[in-house]
Symmetry: C2
Subunit: 366 residues, 2 copies
């Protein structure tokens, strides 16, 4: 799908919401609609804001990004602002909207205030309206090109996972292993890691988002490896749990429960079911095995331009799964002070069922 078509679909969504424009500040949404690839330096520094109206789309940026914006955002008009005041009024009067949406989950309060003051200064009666996930919901259903990009990104991550596995027993520290992941990703052609690699060994594996430490990875312990790459702007995300040495029965029991939950939840994914329903399958298996209270996150999330995106497979998710959605299925059990196990695959919702996008068969059969 081209950028023009995406803009047209968004305009239909806006009309249905009673809006005649949208301020797009989230970088991945900005790219999705315009093709402009600049990233934001950090959470506070923006490399541009896309203003979508019913007929016009203006990408406002500063001088540092002007050439890039003109080159990439072919379907948009590029407006280059300087350090002075008044540019927002100019952009907004070009847009001429009465009810302008903004991304409440992303726009900072400071930028919200500037835009609403500009509207007030103009005295044209235009108002701002918070919106949630309008573009994210469009992005949840991937086009053919996006699915190919995600497959390629995940295949790369699987190659890295396979190469890493061979290195884990050598007395590497967690930090070394995490760095190795990033080096291997680059070697395999990734733009970069989609998120800081998680390599959590021993008792630290009980922290779902543990940062790597300088502790050497010991023999006779589990290691949770959760990694993902970015390739051609699309993310991948997968996790495996390895045991270095001969696993004790308790590890085997936990692992078998997590794997069983993953297989069951994957089997529950299909068009028409809700995220909540898939999540309840995971929870049901883990509860029946006595580990229900040790599963502290959701079953899964969408993956695309962001590593975490719509839809969510969680206890509160009423999103109905539809063909073209790509989600993770990642049950985990975390026993505080003891150890944790997480297994994460990516799956594609197909016309009639589900396709597991992972091909690396590195699961233990306990």
């Amino acid at each position: 799908m081209g950028f023009r078509q995406r803009l047209d679909i968004l305009r239909e969504v806006l009309a249905a919401e009673g809006l005649d424009g949208l301020v797009v500040s989230r970088p991945e949404n900005r790219y999705y609609l315009s093709g402009y690839t600049a990233e934001d330096y950090d959470l506070v520094e923006s490399s541009g804001i896309l203003f979508v109206g019913l007929r016009r789309a203006l990408l406002a940026t500063d001088g540092r990004y002007a050439e890039q914006a003109l080159e990439e955002a072919q379907r948009c008009e590029v407006y280059v602002y300087g350090p002075g005041e008044g540019w927002l009024e100019e952009v907004l009067s070009n847009l001429d909207t009465k009810r302008l949406g903004f991304e409440a989950l992303h726009l900072t309060y400071g930028r919200f205030l500037k835009i609403s003051q500009a509207l007030e200064n103009m005295g044209s009666g235009g108002e701002l309206a918070p919106t949630d996930n309008l573009i994210e919901n469009l992005r949840a259903i991937k086009g053919a090109g996006e699915i190919e990009a995600i497959r390629a990104s995940l295949a790369l991550t699987e190659r890295v996972m396979a190469r890493l596995r061979g290195e884990l027993s050598g007395g590497l520290t967690e930090t070394d292993a995490a760095r190795l992941v990033e080096t291997l990703m680059r070697e395999e052609g990734a733009t970069r890691a989609a998120f800081p690699p998680i390599v959590a060994s021993g008792t630290r594996s009980s922290q779902p988002h543990a940062g790597p430490t300088d502790s050497p990875i010991q023999e006779a312990t589990p290691v949770v490896v959760d990694i993902g790459a970015k390739l051609n702007r699309y993310c991948s995300d997968m996790a495996r749990t390895f045991y270095l040495g001969t696993p004790p029965d308790r590890f085997k029991r936990v692992y078998a429960a997590v794997r069983e939950a993953q297989v069951a939840a994957t089997g529950a994914v299909r068009p028409g079911v809700t995220g909540r329903e898939v999540d309840s399958v995971t929870r049901g298996v883990l509860e029946s095995r006595g580990f229900g209270e040790y599963f502290s996150h959701s079953t899964g999330h969408g993956v695309g331009l962001n590593v975490h995106e719509q839809p969510t497979l969680g206890p509160k998710s009423e999103t109905v799964l539809a063909p073209g959605m790509v989600v993770t299925v990642e049950p985990g059990v975390y026993l505080p002070g003891e150890f944790g196990v997480r297994l994460e695959n990516m799956v594609l919702v197909t016309e009639d069922r589900v396709e597991t996008l992972n091909h690396l068969e590195d699961f233990y059969e306990y």
Copy 2:
């Protein structure tokens, strides 16, 4: 300075602003006050919010980060929230503030709304007040440990710059060179690059923030290399412009002007002058050489936990420089469609003057 002392100083600042608490959502600020090192995935996904009151400091996070928060944020109480409602009310009633500040440049509108609704639900008359840069202004003045961390980060980047320079003539593409920078940084021990490396050759060097392309770096062209590392959480940032082959006179003239501007601006840095005054020195030199209109950004910015932070050395900056501030001095000239030159050092404002933190003497003398 310890985390407790930083909290105490912040409380004095809050009192002076008529506030009795602060919602700290920006991750680097959260770390600066608490020691909690988790990063946010993006603006939409937070790994925790720090609520600072006059007596208590509560770090609220979800189950995935609970162990890490307890381990790292020793001076704070850790509050672990679940997916349900009501936790904000609980945290806020523990804090018991009447006028609670928040970071307007970082807090999203959505979170602002949730917090203000929670205050309303409580009916205790507490209100929210936007603040700008309260913690960033404290962070602008670095302690001895921070300065050491920045020196180490910059020394690492200089080693990478020196190693990269030797590779630039081999027909590498810009993308390959940028990847090489990240590999070399890891080899030298960096956590990661502080920002996507800029390697802009030929006419692309006229874009201050050009992303690397798959074009091979040609002989007989300039190459702007702008790179920085993150090491022990502190950033570095430097740029050099190399010419591959024998430079034409026009390049020499531009380069000499930029270097002259850099030397003059560095000489102007000292305690008591404003950011604006330093910036005007840069602009004065470039204007006198006929390139004033081709300098499209500010002279410099602070560097620390963020790669761009307070203070700014720009046309509108009234910040008075003080000992302990670390800033870049980075004039540039960008001739559209032709080429660009940027030279960037980091300097430390000392008790009586300035110390250039860079030691790599890779400047041309034209």
